[in-house]
């Protein structure tokens, strides 16, 4: 437990000084998106890794946050900070209501239901042209402002987004080590025993679902206000799959793993650009191979590597002794 907080402190320090190394280059811009993806991956990990419930429609909550915030601030002239709060609350309520029937389902049926929900939301984005601008998107979304400070440059956005991402990570770590986090992990290990201990598994799952949706909506709002432009294509089924991939590749239930997964998937297109059209093939292959040979993800892989190194050292000492 202490180790997680120490690691977090170290991580936060790195994040805060990192921009110095990039001097406003293009990579800084990639890091902004990495921050948003980290928020989303951590949010989904709460659901997938802690509560063990799959969602193939999480991009829709991201999109709902982006559109609610975007429409309210652009078309109706609300303050962007206010619209962020409105979006978070509205999406939270929606997810809470949806959670009860949808989380009754298990496994593939849950996957299919969340996928279906994601597609419905996507179609609504496309079809309500008067409101969302339809497939050609919504442009001219105002930047966030804080007094005289407008978040419009990469560096400013970097700090804005990463503040949110770090807070998200901290909240998730807190949650993992609390009453709720323990109950969730208990459900994961033995649902029967946890129920006998008085854990209301169903309510908890729904609450986590809602929290996860709220964080995703906030990320969506941030995305809308930093990009100034949103279109439905960013919130489709593919992105939902990409989010699940981030969580799985990073490691289920590991907060830092979610960062690793988000980082890898944000950087991956940059790395794969050399292979051009082959990137989709490599992406599919990576998904299969990682799931097959690294079921605990990058975080699990690093942890077991560390474990393997440590006894080796001890072994040497023993041999000498």
């Amino acid at each position: 437990m202490k180790r997680d907080y120490l690691l977090f402190l170290l991580f936060a320090t790195v994040v805060l000084v990192a921009p110095a190394a990039f001097k406003g280059g293009y990579l800084l811009n990639v890091l902004v998106f990495m921050g948003i993806n980290t928020m989303l991956a951590v949010a989904l990990n709460l659901l997938l890794g802690f509560a063990g419930q799959i969602s193939l429609g999480h991009a829709s909550f991201f999109g709902l946050g982006a559109y609610l915030s975007g429409i309210l601030s652009t078309t109706y002239g609300f303050n962007p900070w206010l619209t962020m709060v409105i979006a978070a609350v509205a999406v939270g309520i929606l997810a809470f209501g949806l959670g009860f029937p949808i989380l009754k389902l298990k496994g593939h049926y849950l996957a299919m239901a969340t996928l279906g929900f994601g597609i419905i939301v996507y179609i609504v984005f496309n079809e309500t042209v008067a409101l969302t601008g339809g497939p050609s998107g919504l442009s001219g979304i105002p930047n966030l402002k804080m007094g005289s400070l407008t978040f419009d440059g990469d560096l400013k956005n970097y700090y804005l987004i990463w503040c949110f991402a770090l807070v998200t990570m901290l909240l998730a770590i807190n949650l993992a080590h609390s009453r709720i986090g323990r109950a969730l992990r208990a459900i994961h290990d033995s649902e029967v025993a946890s129920r006998v201990m008085g854990v209301n598994a169903r309510l908890l799952k729904v609450q986590v679902f809602a929290l996860s949706a709220i964080i995703s909506a906030v990320a969506g709002s941030l995305y809308a206000h930093t990009m100034s432009f949103i279109s439905p294509a960013s919130f489709g089924f593919n992105f939902s799959v990409e989010l699940v991939t981030m969580v799985i590749i990073g490691g289920l239930g590991s907060i830092f793993g979610s960062f690793l997964g988000a980082a890898l998937l944000t950087i991956l297109p940059e790395l794969l650009r050399v292979v051009q059209d082959y990137d989709i093939v490599v992406y599919g292959l990576l998904l299969i191979v990682m799931t097959m040979y690294m079921p605990k993800g990058l975080a699990g892989g690093i942890a077991s590597l560390a474990r393997r190194l440590r006894p080796a050292k001890k072994g040497v000492v023993d041999a000498q002794g």
Binding site: L48, I54, L56, P101, I102, K104, L105, K106, G107, H108, Y109, A111, M112, A113, L115, G116, F117, I119, I120, I123, V124, N126, E127, F237, V241, V244, T245, I248, D277, Y278, I280, V281, Y283, G284, L285, L286, L287, I288, T291, M292, P295
Partner: protein
């Protein structure tokens, strides 16, 4: 055109599209029943059927029969390889890891198809002419009749295989209880492989017979796969009439929705129905048996 005539046309159009969904849905149901896996790559088998036939028939200029046979065989080999290389080596398969692996497989297959055959949409000649057939004031294409016919044939073959052959019975045994099946000497792994073989062959067949109507390209598998999946779920994941009825119902509702309500929301209507069914009757509309899904 009066309303009644319009409704007849909606019904015919819906049922024709529904038959396509049904055929694809059956592929899902077979793998699910034998293994408990939802194969998200099923749509890609459908795509492969169409794209490969186009490749053999138009590019390599092989005779039609050879081209179609070749497409089915090639797809089946790919399906079997997919199972051998990705599903079988899994030490502890969980529903989650299987969902991700089959999604990864579908992305991979789609990517390879794009690289090999390009991004263009291709059309295939219909089996028997392009003269529409008029029935009760509504029209259908001869190809639709082929789809209906082959769907019926597939159901009959399924019924026969699963209830009257040793292998089929063994596969059903696996779906009820894998451990028990292996205790009585059924090679469960072989059955899983067999289910992938059957469903990829069926997917390819579906892809071939629908391509003259819907055209084909590397990316047609996604939406067709999802719709087929919907059909299977509405039908309660049965590998017989349930899924077929599910597909027909889905097609019908889509067509009526597009004609009478709004064609932009057509797919949304389909998925709302799916959600309602999952919420209210997760065992599917047509089956009574209570299975482990709630």
């Amino acid at each position: 055109m009066d309303l009644l005539q319009q409704l007849t046309q909606y019904a015919f159009s819906g049922l024709s599209t529904g038959a396509i969904y049904a055929l694809i849905g059956l592929g899902f149901a077979i793998i699910y029943n034998a293994t408990g896996i939802i194969n998200f790559a099923q749509g890609e088998f459908v795509m492969l059927g169409g794209v490969l036939t186009h490749f053999f028939l138009i590019v390599l200029k092989l005779p039609a029969g050879v081209a179609m046979g070749g497409a089915v065989i090639a797809t089946t080999v790919i399906g079997a390889l997919f199972e051998r290389l990705t599903i079988r080596p899994l030490k502890r398969p969980t529903p989650l890891s299987l969902v991700i692996i089959t999604i990864g497989g579908s992305i991979f297959i789609r990517g390879v198809a794009m690289l090999v055959w390009g991004k263009d949409t291709q059309s295939l000649p219909p089996f028997s002419g392009e003269e529409p057939i008029t029935l009760a004031g509504a029209t259908v294409m001869p190809q639709h009749l082929w789809i209906f016919g082959i769907t019926l044939l597939v159901i009959a073959a399924n019924k026969f295989f699963f209830y009257y052959t040793i292998r089929g019975k063994a596969m059903r045994a696996c779906s009820f209880n894998r451990t028990a099946a292996s205790l009585v000497g059924i090679d469960v792994r072989k059955m899983v492989l067999l289910s992938f073989v059957i469903s990829s062959a069926m997917g390819a067949m579906a892809g071939i017979i629908i391509a003259p109507l819907t055209m084909t390209a590397y990316d047609v598998g996604v939406m067709l796969g999802l719709k087929g999946f919907c059909a299977a779920i509405i039908g309660g994941m049965s590998s017989g009439f349930g899924t077929v009825l599910g597909g027909l119902l889905l097609g019908l509702l889509e067509s009526l929705g597009a004609g009478l309500i709004s064609s932009g929301y057509k797919d949304a209507i389909a998925f709302i129905i799916l959600l309602l069914i999952l919420f209210i009757r997760p065992q599917g509309l047509f089956s009574k048996a209570q299975t482990e899904r709630v």
